[in-house]
């Protein structure tokens, strides 16, 4: 059986290797990644920043047990059937690009930090000493998470955000998260720009989004347009080359840059390589730990005109199209999301009155 080269070994790339072995793929598998092993990212802004947590996606012996070769290097070029680093060339029939994204930054007259990898987190941990005055810029999930961690480390925190963060992800529950943040740290409701007087700050953290890390595909025949463009099976326009996770964008869809998409796109590309029938796609799932809240969302939680918003207490919302569940968001109510995932993937009809009633156990609505 022919081999697979995977460029990038975070959750997306690693999950391809693990998924192929689970599916019985017996050919050689190589992962090329600049880190020493496969590392997860979500804890970097939270648990890792304030304490100690294992980031490895697998123990070291997993790689020998599963006959997966880890090459600590950066893939810089590729074409049909090959990948190159600065010093080595690898050949394989299947190439999976999982190089992720790079954070956007801000050009300011202050030290500006970003957070993407473990080295960034280590640098931030050094910088965020007690009493340091930090401005955090951003309107997504990352800015409130970093604000939470920076405050826990004793920094004086100011968040600059032009909008209620992550409103498109958590719907109206984003307002609750925003209110919590304004109680905990100083929040300035505008975009941080060069016009801002930053004299009172020691440093700035830019959490202003990411750009797909398409460097490997520059100069290749791959189509790049806000990410490496792929079809719904994550195939690029070049035979045998796939792109998954944050680096890719499915044609005619917005780019997705969340952990669960890395995992899901990896599972899909395993089926593509194995030639097996994929499971139905699961709705997008996002979580964020911020200021003591565990916020989670599945599917789409901002209703469109013909859809209905259903509230279950103050911390749970659902969006319905007739009896069909479109999405759900919840604060500190994880089982709601576990249930909503099942209701959606199994296409179970739901009654809005039952969903809205906190006295009806959510499990009952999944059976």
């Amino acid at each position: 059986m022919s081999g697979v080269i995977i460029a990038g070994g975070s959750v997306a790339g690693f999950s391809v290797a693990a998924g192929l072995r689970d599916a019985g793929f017996s050919g050689p598998i190589t992962i090329i990644d600049p880190h020493h092993t496969a590392l997860d990212r979500p804890p970097l802004s939270t648990e890792y920043l304030v304490g100690d947590v294992e980031l490895a996606l697998a123990p070291t012996e997993w790689f020998s047990d599963h006959d997966v070769t880890w090459v600590q290097d950066t893939a810089v070029r590729l074409g049909q059937g090959f990948v190159e680093t600065a010093t080595q060339r690898f050949a394989a029939d299947h190439i999976v690009i999982a190089t992720g994204a790079v954070p956007k930054t801000l050009q300011l007259d202050k030290p500006v930090y970003t957070l993407r990898n473990i080295a960034d987190a280590d640098a931030l941990r050094q910088a965020l000493s007690p009493g340091v005055n930090v401005a955090i810029a951003g309107g997504g999930l990352l800015a409130p998470e970093l604000a939470t961690s920076a405050k826990a480390l004793g920094a004086n925190v100011t968040v600059f955000t032009p909008q209620v963060p992550a409103a498109e992800i958590f719907g109206e529950l984003a307002e609750t998260l925003y209110a919590t943040m304004t109680e905990q740290v100083e929040v300035i409701e505008r975009r941080l720009t060069v016009e801002e007087n930053l004299d009172r700050f020691d440093l700035v953290i830019a959490a202003v989004g990411v750009e797909p890390n398409v460097a490997i595909a520059q100069g290749s025949k791959l189509t790049i347009d806000d990410g490496i463009v792929v079809d719904e099976a994550y195939r690029t326009n070049v035979e045998g080359i796939y792109a998954i996770g944050d680096v890719c964008r499915i044609r005619n869809q917005p780019r997705q840059d969340h952990w669960d998409h890395g995992r899901a796109s990896a599972a899909r590309v395993v089926h593509t390589i194995m030639g097996t029938e994929p499971a139905a796609p699961t709705p997008a799932w996002v979580w964020s730990d911020q200021f003591g809240h565990d916020a989670q969302a599945i599917g789409r939680v901002v209703p469109q005109a013909h859809e209905r918003l259903v509230r279950r207490g103050d911390n749970v919302i659902f969006v319905l199209d007739g009896e069909k569940l479109i999405g759900s968001a919840a604060l500190d109510e994880q089982l709601i999301i576990r249930a909503a995932t099942r209701i959606m993937t199994r296409d179970i009809a739901v009654d809005p009155a039952q969903l809205a009633d906190p006295d009806i156990p959510i499990r009952r609505l999944t059976r």
């Binding site: 693990a18 996606l57 123990p59 995992r263 994880q334």
Partner: protein
């Protein structure tokens, strides 16, 4: 190893987890799950993070951590999907004359 009486079988609802605290187990808290297939015990703390598996979603012989959705096999503690990467330690639990008896394996 001590066998501990942790209650009557009917106190353990089907397809749900029950939290057994350290004061009873003499070590880590343990989650006990009763299903139609049997009764099972795992360390309560998810191997991925600080979350209680007894609050998880029990289905098809597995428990799914509510926090980040890693699943574990109830029978042998094997982790079935990311983000957790380590198996959950298991303990011996049995039903004798309607009583649930737990033997922690610390």
């Amino acid at each position: 190893m001590t066998r501990i009486d942790i209650g009557a079988e009917e106190d353990f609802p089907l397809e749900e987890g029950v939290y057994i605290g350290h004061e009873k187990t003499g070590g880590e808290p343990i989650a006990v799950f009763r299903t139609d297939e049997g009764i099972y015990a795992l360390n309560d703390r998810c191997t991925h993070g600080n979350y209680s598996l007894s609050e998880g979603w029990v289905e098809d012989g597995t428990v799914e951590c509510p926090k980040h959705a890693s699943s574990f096999c109830l029978a042998n503690g094997k982790v079935l999907n990311l983000p957790a990467t380590e198996d959950a330690p298991t303990h011996t639990v049995e039903v004798v004359d309607g009583r649930v008896l737990l033997t922690p394996q610390f």
